[in-house]
């Protein structure tokens, strides 16, 4: 059974694509430089997708996630650029950076809190709430920046998005840390368990003494935290903050999450799936870019891949069901 799980299929697709791209342009694709650059590119979208995944597991959606990232990045950038002038050096810079990181995180958490409050405590449906907050956060970002970019950061800040530890880019390390964190939180904590159970059946979960409102609130806070992490990487990588950084990540992150096997209706979704799906998208995008395919055909390929993988999944699960009937009723039907 495990062999044909959604995640394994994805892994095959990933490996297949990777080999294909390597074969197509070995001298370009399989270079350290390209691998490093893919590893630098993936985390922003990957982190947002992880946040989106947790929300989708509860059966919700967070349309405001990219503007949460934009707004929190801008606030962090304002702290950073307003506190930085040529004279500031040494530990003062480190403190300033820490202050900016905290400002980014706190702003994002406030955004997540607003979403969580309206969704879990007031009871408005997630799509309506985040449709509103999406516009609100965008508006606040534009208002804060007047549409321009905030820049003028200390050079040290760039290390987060552009630095290396050994030969490994820092962003991918951040991504790995948060992917593992998400994995542990979802699979090994009471909250994570409740998230899955809530996604399948909120009523039964509530009736089992779980504080579902708190669970949902934490979900939106967590998504906001992922947005903040993505924002930090983005502001550092681009050495500035602006309202439309990452604005194309919204539907892309939803696409990655569903490609990763997460059930859009909630209740099922694996970190591994989302991570591999993000990898697939990255390999496809970078690979086709290296080969020199028209960008629009890259979009087309992504669309084809999305539908093809899900067709494959549905085909396999139909077959599995066919097989399942064979065994299971024997075991359970006549018991009692």
């Amino acid at each position: 059974m495990l062999k044909t799980s959604k995640e394994m299929i994805l892994l095959y697709v990933f490996v297949g694509l990777f080999l294909l791209m390597s074969a197509a342009s070995p001298s370009k694709f399989l270079t350290l430089g390209n691998l490093q650059s893919m590893a630098t590119q993936l985390p922003e979208l990957g982190l947002i997708a992880l946040g989106m995944m947790v929300v989708i597991i509860t059966g919700g959606i967070d349309l405001s996630i990219t503007f949460t990232a934009a707004l929190s990045g801008i606030v962090g950038a304002l702290v950073l650029s307003s506190g930085y002038s040529a004279g500031v050096e040494g530990t003062a810079v480190i403190f300033l950076i820490i202050k900016a990181l905290l400002a980014t995180l706190i702003t994002a958490l406030i955004c997540g809190f607003v979403n969580g409050l309206l969704i879990s405590y007031v009871g408005v449906s997630p799509i309506l709430v985040t449709l509103g907050t999406m516009t609100l956060f965008e508006g606040m970002s534009v208002w804060l920046t007047k549409g321009g970019a905030i820049s003028g950061f200390p050079g040290q800040y760039q290390w987060i998005g552009n630095g290396y530890l050994g030969f490994i880019p820092v962003p991918i390390l951040i991504f790995i840390v948060f992917a593992v964190l998400t994995l542990i939180l979802l699979e090994r904590t009471a909250w994570g368990r409740s998230v899955y159970m809530f996604g399948c059946n909120p009523v039964a979960t509530f009736f089992s003494g779980i504080n579902t409102k708190k669970v949902v609130m934490l979900v939106y806070l967590y998504a906001a935290m992922m947005a903040a992490m993505a924002a930090i990487i983005m502001t550092s990588r681009y050495n500035s903050a602006k309202v439309d950084y990452g604005s194309s990540y919204l539907l892309q992150s939803v696409a990655i999450v569903v490609l990763g096997g997460t059930d859009i209706a909630g209740g099922y979704g694996k970190v591994v799936g989302t991570v591999v799906a993000a990898g697939i998208v990255q390999v496809l995008s970078s690979g086709l870019n290296l080969i020199g395919i028209n960008r629009f055909m890259v979009d087309v390929t992504m669309g084809v891949l999305l539908i093809a993988v899900l067709l494959l999944n549905s085909f396999i699960s139909k077959r599995k069901q066919g097989k399942g009937v064979k065994k299971e009723p024997k075991k359970i039907g006549i018991a009692v």
Partner: protein, 504 residues
């Protein structure tokens, strides 16, 4: 029996890949008869119904005759056009459509119409309801009707396309006693019109009241068809399970000091002035008609329905319960009536369902779940409750009703509650599993747990409880020690001696 049977089914086989669900089954239905189809869960009743309804196809070689002529039922519309209607356990109605539409929809589709004539829809609905002798607001959205009335809508729908044969799958499982009686009256009316009924139920007492003939299935095999006079409950059970099961009055243990005291609990539009006590080691039966406010009261004890006034004392201490989380913290467990909707997370594993209420208790280092402890607890309780098959990773939806109920019980027992509230504990569960659950409840009581049990099935109340409370229209109207309780006395209180006033 010289009459031409309405329906004859012979040599019905149904093989799913690797499993034989039906093996040479036969069934004969006479016009205007009430026929009971009995068998344990998994005996093949639902497969047979699905074949009749056109949802499933039998294996080749099956003979289905209607009015003596071979019939071909390939899809639901065919069944409808042959005069066969199925009232599923969940009624298969549309919550978002009006009563009128729910009644007339099937007919309109059957006629192959393209446009909706609202006048005709209402007329069809009015006629069908008049035939039943019931009045309902035709423009009301179905989801706003109580369950019993939804069932009437489902029956009216069957009448609307002139069904000559109505299959009722567990029609009484969500009805109160009084409503069951009205349903039986309606079945009587249908009979008079020459409409045959196939009645599927686990409540044997009801079957003996209403059915004339019984067809028994076991493990997908045809066991036989019997006249009512040839059978009694005991014999029927032995035919169904193939072995004798004793359906006994459970032995009682001594009850202890007061565990829970409720004083004049009131909530507007829910219940008024409810006071009672629950003792350690006691099973307190709570009965009454559906809609009498029983569920609303117990939900108040579990923090799901915060009362306007009144007090709740636990071990003599006044408590304020505002959420299930708080109730659980106080040692209260609640097993709701809607097992599939409220009790279980069907798409998750048995193990995860059992440990769901325990998550706080199995937290280890750094707040991580202790997998070893979880496994231990899950195995312990699956064993204790004899959940079969003993596969913790199986999805809850793959279990039979009885085992699902055991999983819900396991979930709550694992929290070691002082008080267990259980709403319709054996609803839709077959005979063997019922007895097991009754025994288990008594066992728990003898270990000192206080159990508050809601049930509409009086034999169940009488077989299990120590004391019986009766509710009517949001108020407590009677309390009986088990020694003095009889079905008649309880019903009297539930109806206040005026059964005629309560219409379904």
């Amino acid at each position: 029996m010289s009459q031409m049977p309405f329906l004859q089914m012979r040599n019905i086989n149904k093989t799913f890949p690797g499993v034989r669900a039906l093996d040479a089954v036969r069934l004969e239905i006479l016009p205007g008869e009430v026929h009971a189809l009995v068998g344990e869960n998994g005996a093949g009743k639902s497969t047979l119904i699905k074949i009749l309804a056109g949802v499933e196809q039998p294996d080749p070689g099956a003979e289905i005759l209607i009015d003596g002529k071979p019939a071909n039922i390939r899809q639901p519309i065919d069944a409808n056009q042959q005069g066969i209607a199925v009232i599923y356990q969940d009624f298969s109605l549309f919550p978002n459509l009006t009563v009128a539409e729910n009644i007339s929809f099937g007919k309109e589709i059957g006629l192959g119409k393209r446009f909706v004539n609202w006048f005709e829809i209402k007329e069809t609905a009015t006629n069908a309801l008049a035939e039943l002798g019931v009045e309902l607001d035709l423009n009301l959205q179905l989801e706003r009707l109580p369950v019993a009335k939804q069932q009437l809508v489902a029956i009216a729908r069957a009448l609307a396309f002139n069904a000559r044969f109505i299959i009722m799958d567990e029609p009484t499982s969500s009805l109160s006693r009084g409503e069951v009686e009205s349903l039986f009256k309606i079945i009587g009316t249908l009979k008079e019109k020459g409409i045959a009924i196939l009645f599927v139920s686990h409540r044997l007492q009801e079957l003996f009241t209403i059915a004339e003939r019984f067809t028994v299935l076991r493990d997908g095999k045809y066991i036989g068809t019997y006249l009512k006079d040839e059978l009694n409950e005991e014999k029927l059970i032995s035919l169904m399970v193939g072995r004798r099961i004793e359906f006994i009055k459970q032995s009682r243990s001594k009850t202890g000091p007061v565990l829970l005291e409720v004083k004049s609990l009131t909530k507007k539009g829910n219940f008024k002035d409810i006071s009672f006590t629950l003792h350690k080691g006691e099973i307190l039966g709570l009965t009454g008609l559906v809609g009498a406010g029983r569920t609303e009261v117990v939900q108040a004890l579990f923090g799901l329905n915060v009362p306007d006034s009144g007090e709740i004392y636990l071990d003599g201490v006044k408590v304020n319960i505002r959420s299930p989380e708080e109730a659980m913290g106080l040692g209260i467990g609640y097993i709701p009536e809607g097992r599939q909707r409220e009790g279980l997370v069907l798409r998750q594993s048995v193990a995860q369902n059992i440990s769901l209420a325990l998550l706080k208790k199995i937290r280890g280092k750094f707040g991580l779940l202790n997998a070893g402890k979880e496994k231990e607890l899950v195995e312990e309780y699956m064993e204790a409750l004899d959940v079969r098959p003993r596969l913790p990773n199986m999805l809850a939806m793959q279990l039979s009703g009885g085992n699902q109920q055991k999983v819900v019980l396991a979930k709550w027992l694992a929290t070691r509650p002082k008080i267990l509230i259980i709403d319709e504990p054996t609803n839709g569960i077959d005979v063997g599993a019922k007895a097991e659950i009754h025994k288990l409840l008594r066992q728990l009581a003898s270990q000192g747990m206080g159990i508050l049990m809601i049930s509409s099935e009086l034999p169940e109340i009488l077989a299990v409880s120590d004391r019986v409370l009766v509710m009517r229209r949001g108020r407590l109207v009677g309390e009986f020690a088990i020694e003095e309780a009889t079905q008649e006395k309880i019903m009297n209180r539930a109806f206040m001696g005026m059964p005629g006033r309560v219409t379904a």
